[in-house]
């Protein structure tokens, strides 16, 4: 500590080095007890026997995972067949989240690019406008979307009034409604990282490409896009991951037929199914999927950084 003032020079700030473990202790305790330990207990629960009407019996079993992947008949004595119900629910989530991500990319990329090429003074205002909706309650935004998309909702009324359609378009309680809901929920997440990447991009590269007779669109695809790819991937991850485990959009916009992972899990704890180990197992599978995606993403970002 003593004499650190003169040699500081930005090497590594360390005024509070002596206290660092004390300073970290509260965050370790709170996050350890309320996030990390619970995930561990959840893992254990996924291997326990279910108690009817919620809760568990402390007996080790693989039943929860077995039920997820295999169908052994009503009494569990038939030869195992693949159980498609839950795999299909996961598949639907993977697909729905993918569609929402693609939609967000189509709208989000041009938006991010446009904002990043505005004069420097007004960019923060644009970014702020894009961010505000994210801070508005997700539940309220999803309810608003439901209100807007209803058969007798303002959107259909408007389209009928303009004469574009004669009868209301039925969107609510379909896959499309869920995709729109997910897209709407996480759109700002797509714009922000792409914006950050394009803002750092050196447009001299595009100009050089143009000098070498590349058209504007070729310059975009072959020069700009590879440079901002880490930002694009980050945006896709930030939309895809929360979409995968979403509960509100499928529940409020998809109706009972359009189950996704989030609804399946929720039903084990809040709904009638009441199978805690199974819900814990489904959560573990979801968590594993997300961690794999994040790990691949971290590796990809590290590689992109090395390549400069």
């Amino acid at each position: 500590m003593a004499g650190g003032g003169g040699t500081g020079g930005g090497v590594s700030a360390s005024t509070y080095a002596g206290l660092r473990y004390w300073l970290l202790l509260p965050s370790w305790l709170v996050l350890g007890f309320i996030v990390l330990a619970p995930v561990g207990v959840m893992l254990i629960y996924s291997f326990l026997t279910k108690e009817f009407r919620g809760g568990v019996i402390w007996e080790f079993t693989l039943d929860a995972y077995d039920q997820f992947f295999f169908d052994r008949g009503l009494f569990g004595d038939e030869p195992p067949k693949i159980e498609w119900t839950y795999i299909l629910i996961f598949w639907r989530s993977i697909w729905q989240a993918g569609a929402a991500t693609l939609l967000a990319l189509v709208i989000g990329f041009p938006t991010a690019y446009f904002i990043a090429t505005r004069p420097e003074r007004v960019r923060p205002i644009w970014v702020f406008l894009i961010t505000i909706p994210y801070w508005v309650n997700l539940l309220i935004r999803t309810v608003s979307m439901k209100f807007l998309l209803r058969d007798q909702g303002p959107l259909n009324d408007f389209l009928i009034w303009t004469g574009l359609i004669d009868t209301p378009i039925h969107v609510i309680n379909t896959d499309v409604a869920v995709q729109i809901g997910l897209f709407y929920s996480y759109l700002p997440f797509m714009v922000l990282p792409i914006y950050a990447a394009v803002e750092r991009y050196d447009f001299a590269l595009s100009e050089a490409a143009a000098d070498l007779y590349a058209t504007k669109w070729v310059a975009l695809r072959r020069v700009l896009l590879p440079s901002v790819r880490p930002g694009v991937i980050a945006g896709c991850i930030l939309v895809y991951v929360p979409s995968l485990g979403a509960f509100l959009a499928p529940d409020l916009l998809g109706g009972a037929k359009n189950f996704m992972i989030g609804s399946l899990i929720e039903e084990q704890f809040k709904g009638n199914a009441g199978n805690w180990p199974f819900g814990a197992a489904a959560s573990m599978i979801l968590l594993t999927m997300v961690m794999i995606i994040l790990l691949l993403f971290a590796r990809q970002q590290a590689r992109a950084e090395r390549e400069g």
Binding site: S12, T15, Y16, R20, L24, P38, M42, V143, L287
Partner: protein, 269 residues
């Protein structure tokens, strides 16, 4: 500017998509806000402007329920934001001003954990954990969960702000015989204020807005505004729900705006 349309940086249509993007983001919110002033009992027919549904929220048959939910929501948000901001400030001081050490990366990972684990998984895990240790679900379990997942949101602006302040200020104070505690309180803390306020406000909104985790850990009988709204919406969207949503929406936007200007004001220096 003369280059205009043929400028290599401009792509035709991108501007249109941007305005479309803003329209998509705001249209549903504006529509609900407008319809919350509808005089009609029906949510479909427009019968003119009225404050009837706002009056209904405060004095109608469900007003007691909403009032209790609002008290729960705001008190939990205030306590959770205060505590998570203090925890985040303490952690940021260690991670930004504590030199290099082995547990640094791990600690940072732990703080970002609530951002990486899907919300529904955190919700399930917390519910199971409270049940396993025999904790009765209610106000306190909601509060505990909120403190935890608000930490990363409070941490981000606080650590960004601290990284932007050179350590030489505190070193100078200590060279002039200030103790480390004095240097922190009298030098670092005042300069940290914009980051702290911004972190507190973001944590407050995140707590106020949470539905998924609250819904899992709340137990019977304790409602927050989002869980009360969700319960009501399950019976169908009614005008009083739109009024209450509009108010909540206004609170969130107000707080983000304050947070934005607080962090912007110090950029200007």
């Amino acid at each position: 500017m003369a280059a205009g349309r043929n400028d290599i940086r401009t792509y035709r249509g991108f501007g249109t998509v941007t305005y479309l993007c803003l329209f998509i983001l705001y249209a549903p919110l504006i529509v609900v806000a407008v319809y919350s002033f509808n005089a009609s009992r029906s949510i479909t027919i427009w019968e003119g402007v009225s404050l009837a549904w706002y009056r209904d929220v405060f004095t109608g048959p469900e007003s007691a329920k909403f009032k209790q939910a609002a008290i729960n929501s705001f008190s939990i948000a205030a306590i959770a934001a205060t505590l998570s901001t203090m925890i985040a400030l303490s952690a940021a001081t260690a991670l930004v001003r504590g030199g290099r050490f082995g547990l640094r990366t791990l600690s940072f990972g732990l703080i970002s954990l609530p951002l990486m684990v899907p919300e529904i998984v955190t919700a399930v895990a917390t519910l199971i954990f409270f049940s396993a240790i025999g904790f009765t679900r209610g106000y306190l379990t909601i509060l505990a969960a909120h403190i935890a997942f608000c930490i990363p949101f409070a941490y981000m602006p606080i650590s960004a702000r601290m990284q932007g302040i050179e350590e030489s200020y505190e070193q100078a104070a200590m060279d002039l015989y200030a103790t480390r505690g004095q240097a922190f309180r009298r030098v670092l803390l005042p300069m940290m204020m914009p980051g702290i306020v911004s972190g507190f406000l973001l944590a407050f909104i995140i707590s106020l807005d949470d539905f998924i985790i609250t819904n899992f850990v709340k137990g019977a009988g304790v409602e927050t505004l989002p869980t009360a709204i969700f319960g009501a919406v399950k019976q169908g969207i009614r005008p009083n729900i739109m009024a209450i949503s509009t108010m909540l929406l206004a609170v969130s936007i107000l707080m983000v705006t304050i947070s934005y200007f607080v962090s912007k004001s110090d950029d200007a220096r």
